[in-house]
């Protein structure tokens, strides 16, 4: 199928964000863009990206298949992701995932028969202070349990759009993909949605309640003078950068290609033995 004129125009806008000769940087946003029109990355979407950037389809596919957010088969309107990484897991995230999987009759990366919901278990979603968490099209529902989660998916299937705990009102996965391609969320007031949660503010509120501030802050403090730099081109500095890199972060060698000696990790290995 052919992509819409709007998608072509957006593709040009995306490519223009990157320096001339570096157009390939536009590939990730372009893949989000084709997903916003088709719901997943289709062979036609791969071809579209390849044509825009002068790449082969193989080059584009190699990238598209590396990243988990590019879906290779049709997805529901609602991508339901449950964190089952360690912290959420022990706090009940695994039970939430298992309950949803049984209730919906689908496993990881599968879509319900009515085509509304795609379920997945996710790795750490960076909201451990609200664990266990789940997201719908990547907006957060915090401190969930199996009952809350089942109620949530039933409301989604009934055509409702429950309000996420933090974050904007829900939009479909296609609409979200357009935002991921770097376009503003045009819905009135959506950016303003999502007041900070209690856990986010816990420390700073504790300080406020107890009158704790950091003393001595004077925004007029002078910046000071620059250190002397040699005049002219600083070829030597490239050498200095490498030397310092070597000092802080050992270069690769056959025995240690990461070049990152991690003394504490080695010590743990030794002591575990």
């Amino acid at each position: 199928m052919g992509f819409s004129e709007a998608t072509h125009a957006r593709a040009r806008e995306i490519i223009a964000r990157y320096p001339a000769g570096r157009e390939r940087s536009a590939l990730l946003p372009l893949l989000h863009l084709v997903q916003s029109e088709e719901g997943h990355v289709t062979p036609a979407g791969v071809q579209f990206c390849a044509e825009q950037l002068g790449l082969t389809k193989a080059q584009v596919s190699a990238v598209a298949t590396f990243y988990t957010m590019y879906k290779r088969k049709p997805t529901g309107d609602w991508l339901v992701s449950v964190c089952t990484n360690t912290m959420c897991n022990v706090l009940g995230g695994q039970a939430v995932y298992d309950a949803l999987s049984e209730h919906l009759g689908v496993g990881h990366d599968e879509t319900t028969e009515d085509g509304t919901i795609t379920l997945e278990h996710a790795e750490c979603l960076a909201a451990c202070d609200y664990g266990p968490v789940m997201t719908v099209n990547y907006d957060f529902f915090d401190n969930v349990d199996p009952d809350i989660a089942l109620n949530l998916v039933e409301r989604l299937r009934a055509g409702e759009r429950p309000q996420p705990t933090r974050g904007a009102r829900l939009c479909t996965l296609k609409e979200m993909s357009l935002q991921l391609a770097g376009f503003a969320d045009e819905r009135e007031g959506a950016v303003a949605d999502g007041p900070p949660g209690a856990s986010t503010l816990r420390g700073v509120r504790l300080a406020q309640e107890n009158g704790i501030t950091v003393a001595g802050f004077d925004p007029g403090t002078p910046i000071g003078k620059p250190a002397e730099r040699p005049a002219g081109p600083e070829k030597a500095n490239a050498g200095a950068a490498t030397a310092a890199g070597v000092a802080s972060n050992e270069p690769a060698r056959d025995a240690s290609p990461s070049g990152q000696p991690s003394e504490p990790r080695q010590r743990n290995l030794k002591e575990a033995k």
Binding site: M87, P196, P226, E234, P264, N268, L269, K273
Partner: protein, 443 residues
């Protein structure tokens, strides 16, 4: 720490709170530029643009600021490595690909105070003479990205970005670039490959990004917390910044507390605070739970135990205790949590996220997951424990980046402190936690 009830923190512990980067979070609309400007916003930029770029690099060196992304590299030193007058374009790239298990400090910052990051970007780019900057934000972080894109748009409209910023002659373009789901892209060279439109896989070093980074040009890659610290240092000065933290680990740090405590959340404190004090701030352990193991800075940092409650949580203190400060993502587990199962779940993560470039990490994590499934299904053997350590020995230091190294941390540290828990599964004293179904395909 015993199974105490909820506690009220003592005054001397409360005084370790240092609300600096988190302070504006209390103002609900601080993500809007007009509110941000009323709260000292963009004052640091005006001040910085009146100074020599090298003076800013020196200021950051003097402040002792170290990277907030986990490695703790001195920021001013990193900026100073960028060769000047070399005729090449320079780039500033912000690593906003937060995803280290346990870590949740950058997302709230970008959601509730995005302009502080944008302002920090402009000052840092001016200091290293970059006219293009990118914020590579984790794909899943959609609401933070909404606020950030909105902030960038507002900053352009106000003349803080674009051509001839505030009449200084300095030009800067800033692009917010969303990732697409890959933990490995938090590794700086994999991030650069991803930003160039490739699979996110790490690069061999040298050359280092300071000379051959984005588009093979001099590049600084800094974490969100690092760059957001810059405006405060520009305003308050290096000496003020050093009133917080310790001699070698200066400033405030956002500690992300999760797990079996009464009040999980973000606690910005002076670097060097201890876990005992953090738990006190968090209202104590949850009733009925007592501390058993914890990560000082995410799952890639070796586990510590109740023996380590008084370790100063700064770069040196944690290293001396046999772990790594990392991202100060303090995940707290109790006597009701199993260290073997916790490690297994982390290993599933590393196995899933290994980019596949290096054989030891790709294959090692694949096999370790299977060994853990066998142990947790009640079918483990004594030999499995040797196999795990042998596998770690073959991963540690033998992959291009730190992902593989990180995967060994929970394995070796849990075997070091909690070998008995493993033996209890092997010898049948602990009931299997996984069913035989989990063994399908295992060997």
């Amino acid at each position: 720490m015993s199974a105490t009830a909820v506690t009220v923190p003592r005054r001397e512990v409360l005084e370790k709170l240092t609300p600096v980067l988190t302070k504006r979070w209390l103002s609900p609309d601080a993500w809007r530029i007009d509110v941000y400007e009323r709260l000292d916003g963009y004052a640091a930029l005006r001040k910085a643009l009146a100074a020599h770029p090298d003076a800013l690099i020196q200021l950051i060196k003097d402040s002792g600021l170290r990277g907030r992304g986990g490695a703790g590299f001195p920021t001013g030193l990193k900026w100073g490595f960028i060769p000047q007058n070399d005729g090449k374009p320079h780039y500033l790239v912000v690593n906003a690909d937060e995803g280290e298990p346990g870590t949740c400090k950058d997302l709230p910052l970008m959601m509730h105070d995005p302009h502080s990051l944008v302002e920090g970007v402009i000052i840092a780019a001016y200091a290293i003479r970059a006219d293009r900057a990118y914020i590579y934000i984790r794909g899943e972080a959609v609401h933070a990205a909404r606020r950030l894109r909105n902030a960038v748009k507002e900053a352009y409209a106000a003349g803080y970005l674009g051509r001839n910023i505030l009449g200084s002659g300095f030009d800067l373009d800033l692009v917010v670039h969303s990732g697409a789901g890959a933990y490995i892209c938090g590794e700086e060279t994999a991030l650069l490959d991803s930003l160039e439109g490739f699979r996110g896989q790490p690069r061999l070093r040298p050359p280092f990004p300071a000379t051959h980074g984005l588009y093979a040009s001099p590049t600084v890659v800094n974490n969100v917390g690092t760059i957001s610290s810059v405006p405060y240092i520009v305003l308050g000065g290096a000496a003020w910044w050093k009133t917080m933290g310790t001699e070698k680990s200066s400033g405030p740090m956002i500690y992300s507390l999760s797990g079996r405590i009464a009040n999980p959340g973000q606690y910005e404190c002076s670097l060097g605070i201890t876990l005992r004090e953090l738990i006190e701030l968090a209202g104590g352990m949850q009733p009925g739970h007592s501390l058993r193991f914890w990560t000082p800075g995410g799952s890639s940092t070796p586990l510590l135990t109740a023996e380590h409650l008084d370790v100063p949580l700064d770069f040196e203190g944690v290293a001396a205790a046999g772990s790594i400060l990392g991202t100060t993502a303090t995940q707290i587990f109790s006597d009701q949590d199993c260290p073997v199962y916790a490690t297994y779940r982390w290993l599933e993560f590393y196995y899933h996220e290994s980019c596949g470039k290096c054989t030891p990490c790709r294959e090692g994590n694949y096999w370790m997951v299977r060994v853990y499934r066998r142990i947790l299904s009640g079918q483990g053997t004594y030999e499995d424990l040797d196999t795990l350590l042998d596998t770690c020995d073959n991963i540690l230091g033998r992959a291009f980046c730190g992902l593989g190294d990180g995967a060994t941390s929970p394995v070796t540290s849990s075997l070091k402190y909690f070998k008995q828990d493993y033996l209890d599964y092997i010898e049948g004293r602990t009931a299997p936690k996984l069913s035989d179904k989990a063994l399908v395909g295992a060997h």
